[in-house]
Amino acid sequence: MLNQGRIDLLERMPPLKRLLKARAFQPAMMLLTLAVFTLAILAGLIGTPAGNRNFGIVFVWIVWWALLIAVLVPFFGRLWCTICPIPAPGEWLQRRAIVQRRPGKLWTRGLRWPRRLKNIWLQNFGFLGVALFSTIILTRPNVSAWVLLSFLLVGVVLSALYRNRVFCRYVCPVGGFIGLYSMLAPLELRVADPDVCVAHKTKDCLTGNEFGYGCPWMTFPGSLQRNAACGICFECLKTCPKNNIVLNLRAPGGDLLVANERRLDEAYKAFIMLGCALLYSAVLLGPWGWLKAWANMHTLPHWALYALGFIALNLAILPGVFGAAVWLARRIARQHQPLRRLFVDYAYALIPLGLAAWIAFTFGFVLVNSSYALAALSDPFGWGWDLFGTASTPWTPLGTTVLPFLQVGVLTTGLLFAVHTAYKIARQHSAQHHTAFLATLPVSGFAVLITLGFLRLFLG
């Protein structure tokens, strides 16, 4: 039973359904975030170069990041994609409208997105590229602004060339990991009855009708089993003539067990996210000044070494060690599936641990630096403004006494979730508890080692 054990929020809360069906709701939110986004880019380009006082740095890399990774993704999945301003100009140009459904074709060249790029490898490498320069991007407002602006421009260009939200689905480095971690969220958009969709001839959710556009994410809701490829833009809610769309509250993490949709690109995303969290923690929170200097490009040869280590850790070392653990699991549990299949499947067990690590890491710098937000709110450009009387708010680190407990709690939760998921995946390959338990041991051992590494970095 597809929706068993789930609560349909749209059915329980009719006002919510009316709000989400309203054509103005999503554009209104996007206009709001676009205004903030424009302000952030502007502050980065012409505001103070001191990152801690620049709205562009403080509100993007502290406030937005904390909201995204600690609230939006774990609890609401891809909700950020619903209101993200980056694809907005491109999408509105395609539609030649912001709110109303404009009849006729989308304003685009309508090129076909290459089949070999219909995965998240571009997002993986895009994220790695941004992450490699993150110590620069996260601290220098003008660099940060150019990166954000380039996202916006790439979004517009791709909208002009390809139909729908190709940028969001296949290119956006942020969207890649949001999609991966959205599979853990206790919120999902699905259909009430897939048979209704199968029987429905016109497939308005894909083609659009007078109430809305065809799915901008090029996803057929009728076959949705996971959150990863649904940007919860609610167009299908508006177009579905069968009233078949539901917005469910569910137990978190169910998507990880959808075996037929597991892929190598997503598995690698799990490693990249885990590896980047490790390296970020080491560079930004660790006691190694030399590593910070290398990452900050103080000298090119040292940065080249750092880059090499960074790429090796994410693409070879972590997957390699994990591959060895999976090989061991396959051997001791006498599983006969191909090693590659098992490698991909078990990698999904690392997704909860990766999200937990990012949340714990984020707590580490957000609580300490959040007081900068008040000053930046009143003086976004560092020009001596005092819009809300908070420009002189002194830097006050918050939660320093509870921080280690928070980090340990989050990491432990992530580890337990990972071990539990690994066991469930093992059960998909071995009907017997004993065999699945044995297969879980090496994979869990890997997760424990990674967790200990994070604890060492967070707690010193």
């Binding site: 676009l34 620049n54 001596g384």
Partner: protein
């Protein structure tokens, strides 16, 4: 329309407010000054022209590291530290033409001492005429006396080598020694005489007058006399100026071992070394501070401090040598 309002209207509104509306609403002329380490430009702008009678607001913003801003000489303006991205401002009105210097008071980089800007106050009726700096009578007198202020001063053979002192002279003890009956020649009690003579010269006279006194008593008495200050306020001013401007090289305790000592062309002088300081004249120290040390890495402070502030600084230097004076005394 809405999209254009955000993508174009918002930047136009921000820039319009900052560069048109905000200055228009300000009751004074506002001058924004960006502060960066001198290796990256220092103050920008580094020259500001103001008319007599004009009220201006100087708004300093630190663009990189923590700086500190003070304006001198004689204005008593000290904005304190300005953290990266922080903005501090001061509104001033000048009644007379003159030249002032705004300068960094926090050790911000190896070239910190170069971080200065000039505030030129001119008469509106002669805006191109900026008054020249007045000659300093103390420095003029030293030159007339034939003293080479820039010379490297070595211990004088006339007074013996004072560089090897077996004990640290103590101003605290010196007061008791004098109160106990040590015969101090009249000129040693004269602050003007002390300004133009070294402790070594004073020691020679004191020894002639008190041949039976112990060497330690005589040295302590000198230490006491050289640390006499007219008021504790002056000493506090000297201490503040020293910590802001001198301690980075000369060390907070005057040991010549400040964090920037390794970056100077010559090893900074150790004021806490009585062997060195026994050969120094206060007026020469004064001149060195105001003119700077040619080729040594010692910047000039004559454009920053008033003569009174410079004397307060010299008096503070002697306390680094001999310790704090036991109490206020007019000498």
């Amino acid at each position: 329309m809405t999209l254009g309002l955000i993508l174009i209207g918002l930047p136009v509104a921000v820039l319009g407010y900052q560069y048109w509306l905000r200055p228009a609403l300000s009751p004074t002329r506002v001058i924004d000054i960006a502060a960066r380490v001198p290796e990256q430009e220092g103050f920008a702008p580094d020259v500001i022209r103001v008319a007599v009678g004009e009220t201006v607001t100087l708004r300093f913003a630190s663009m990189d590291v923590t700086h500190g801003v003070a304006i001198g000489p004689g204005l008593g303006v000290d904005l304190g530290p300005i953290d990266p991205g922080q903005v501090k401002e001061i509104t001033l009105r000048f009644e007379h033409p003159g030249i002032y210097t705004y300068y960094c008071t926090t050790w911000c980089s190896p070239d910190h001492w170069r971080m200065r800007g000039t505030l030129q106050v001119s008469d509106p009726s002669n805006p191109d005429v900026v008054p020249a700096a007045q000659p300093d009578p103390v420095i003029e007198a030293l030159i007339a006396e034939g003293i080479d202020i820039d010379a490297v001063h070595t211990p004088s053979a006339d007074h013996g080598d004072m560089s090897i002192l077996v004990f640290q002279p103590s101003a605290q003890r010196g007061k008791a020694v004098i109160a106990g009956g040590l015969d101090v020649p009249a000129e040693l009690r004269d602050p003007v005489w002390r300004q133009s003579h070294t402790p070594a010269e004073a020691l020679e006279r004191l020894t002639r007058q008190n041949p039976a006194a112990s060497e330690r008593d005589r040295l302590d008495a000198i230490a006491y006399l050289w640390t006499l200050a007219p008021a504790d306020e002056a000493l506090a001013t000297g201490e503040r100026l020293y910590n802001q401007n001198c301690a980075a090289c000369h060390g907070q305790s005057g040991g010549g071992d400040g964090p920037a000592a390794a970056t100077t062309a010559e090893e900074p002088v150790a004021f806490s070394d009585p062997g060195y300081m026994f050969e120094r004249r206060s007026d020469v120290l004064y001149a060195k501070i105001r003119r700077g040390g040619m080729g040594t890495g010692m910047p000039n402070f004559g454009t920053l401090f008033t003569p009174e502030e410079t004397w307060a600084l010299v008096r503070y230097l002697w306390t680094l040598t001999f310790g704090a004076p036991p109490g206020l005394d007019t000498g």
